[in-house]
């Protein structure tokens, strides 16, 4: 289908409407004296759902990179961290250790997105000409380098403890903790919906056609006059910027950042979510991520009723996740909702 075929009332437009509604409701809860009381059993659900929304921004960006353009970015977490740490260092007041400049959070968030995008441009400019499995390694190594820097440069990044004292704007506006949780979830959900609308428009447009041509055969795209490298850079930078936005929002929600939030595990979770749902399909990757994170939620409840220890349970969960990845690649390489013909895999 082309743009003209899918013009009116598309999925992207619906998503934008939903996003608008979410943000309005979030504003309603945050800015008015209106309060909600959440049953305490639901706290864990809200926590996971908020993290899901943050990771949702990551997976939409990753899907633009891999699902549409074919770029293998195994260092996605570094852009997430770049957003988080930039926001933290610019906005934190009296961080426990490291830098905290106390600038307004809005400026810090914008800077967080820009820094992540800039880092994406830097990594992209140097690595996007590598063959795909080596691009994977180069990005992975980049992420590991930064992780080590976060841990070791205590005076700048706060070391293992990280940075605290980051403003929490929604908490500051809302009346109480329960209301904050709900408003945060609504606002983050709205951000995901807007992002969905944007990437959907982008990939439905002739722009997306070029991205998919680059994924299919870069040389053909070039022979037809498309600057493949420039499109790869754009997709990479947009994905990085979205991850930076996720990191910035996360920092402003949690009030602290630490290396433990930004491990290889984040990249793995987002990748498995994307592959499970079906790379290329924006709705699919969000759904796939929901399944993987739902597993995390489920395991929190299941932990209470099973006799094994928390650490044993964590191991079991990771074994399951690892085997899910193995199984998808082998038995359903296009994922649950992916289009096997569009991805060029046998199913």
């Amino acid at each position: 289908m082309s743009v003209v075929d899918r013009l009116p009332g598309g999925e992207g437009e619906r998503a934008a409407l939903i996003g608008g509604a979410c943000v309005l409701m979030a504003a309603l809860f945050a800015l008015t004296p209106l309060v909600v009381a959440l049953p305490s059993a639901l706290y864990v659900f809200f926590e996971v759902a908020i993290l899901y929304a943050v990771y949702g921004l990551l997976v939409l960006g990753l899907n633009l990179q891999y699902g549409h353009t074919g770029l293998i970015n195994f260092g996605h977490v570094v852009f997430f961290a770049a957003g988080g740490y930039t926001v933290a260092m610019l906005s934190a007041q009296n961080p426990f250790a490291g830098i905290g400049l106390g600038y307004p959070w809005v400026a810090a968030l914008v800077a967080g997105v820009l820094v992540a995008a800039l880092l994406g441009a830097l990594v992209g400019a140097t690595s996007l000409r590598l063959r795909d499995d080596f691009l994977a390694i180069a990005t992975l190594a980049t992420a590991e380098i930064f992780h080590t820097l976060f841990v070791n440069f205590r005076g700048i990044f706060g070391g293992n403890v990280g940075l605290s004292g980051i403003p929490q704007p929604i908490a500051a506006l809302a009346t109480d903790g329960d209301t904050t949780l709900l408003a945060t979830l609504l606002f983050f959900g709205g951000c995901v919906a807007f992002t969905f609308a944007a990437v959907r428009r982008l990939t439905d447009a002739p722009y997306g056609r070029v991205l998919r041509a680059v994924r299919a055969d870069e040389l053909v795209a070039r022979s037809l006059g498309k600057s493949a490298f420039s499109y790869k850079m754009q997709a990479f930078v947009y994905g990085a910027a979205l991850a930076g936005l996720g990191g910035g929002l996360f920092a402003l929600y949690s009030g602290a950042v630490a290396p433990g939030f930004f491990t290889l595990q984040v990249t793995v979770t987002v990748w498995i979510g994307m592959l499970l749902g079906g790379a290329g399909s924006h709705r699919g990757v969000l759904a796939g991520l929901a399944i993987i994170m739902g597993l995390r939620l489920l395991s929190r409840f299941a932990l209470d009723v099973t006799p094994v220890s928390a650490s044993a349970f964590a191991s079991i969960r990771l074994i399951v996740i690892g085997m899910i990845l193995v199984a998808i690649v082998r038995y359903r390489p296009a994922g649950i909702w992916g289009n096997a013909e569009e991805l060029g895999v046998d199913s």
Binding site: T126, F134, N152, L219, I316, I319, G322, M323, L325, R330
Partner: protein, 304 residues
Amino acid sequence: MGLAQNVVFGLVTGSYIAIAAIGFTLIYGIVNMINFAYGEFITIGAFVGILASGTLSLPLPIAALVAMVGGGLVSLVLARGFFTPINHTGPVPLLLTSIGLGLALRNAVRLVAGRGARYFDTSATTYRFEGLPDLPVGSVDLLGNLFVTSLQLVVVGSAVAVFLLLYTLLTRTDVGIAMRALADDEDLARVRGIDTQRVRDSVWMLAGVLAGLAGVLIGIQTNVSAGIGFSFVLQILAAAILGGAGSPYGAIAGSYVIGLVLALSTAFLPSGMTGISSAIAFLVLVIVLLVKPSGIAGREVREA
């Protein structure tokens, strides 16, 4: 501590990384995949060694042999179960599968063996080179009080033995020659009547044997835990790519470069910064990928 001492440490680290990197790079060259689960092969080998030497009270050399056999078998079984069936799908699905398998294996080991670290029961003799004159250059002392332990000699000696055996294998035996042929040109190898699957199986087995040995040697030098192999996998990868992915001799050279970079950066970084020595190893990897992606001895990994 003198510079010479750090060179010794670097050579020791380079030795066990080299043993592992040979296995890693052979898989890359012949199966055409980056095997991220290779760290877990090392971990499993190390645990087999711990079981053999601790629980069965076998002497260390025998325990190492058991670990090598165990590593070889585990590697072959895992390859047959997980990688061989999707061999035709290309490098990316294989890489993804190895990440999933690695995650599962690492946590399976953790589940069974717990989170604590275990140690090989070893006794080491330390040879000191007393009376070496100090040779200061600026703030750096070149010689200092140099010492070498018998365990370090075992590690380096094992590595040298592996290199010699590898050379013999690749140049003198049918299976080794077939491996080289397959790495050079798969189609041509097939036309010449080489049973490619059998060669791949041998490579998996060999890589597992090397992982088992590397696991025991790493265990002797440090300790054994569920994450031990994983903590080395990026360094092994860096060494293999530095040497030119697919080239075993290149991997040896790359490993010693990485080992020395790690040891020397630890020595020269201000205290409190020593943690970034691993970052420096990865930085070397990234720079190699960007500047000369074919490595010291290898082939092109950049797109045309």
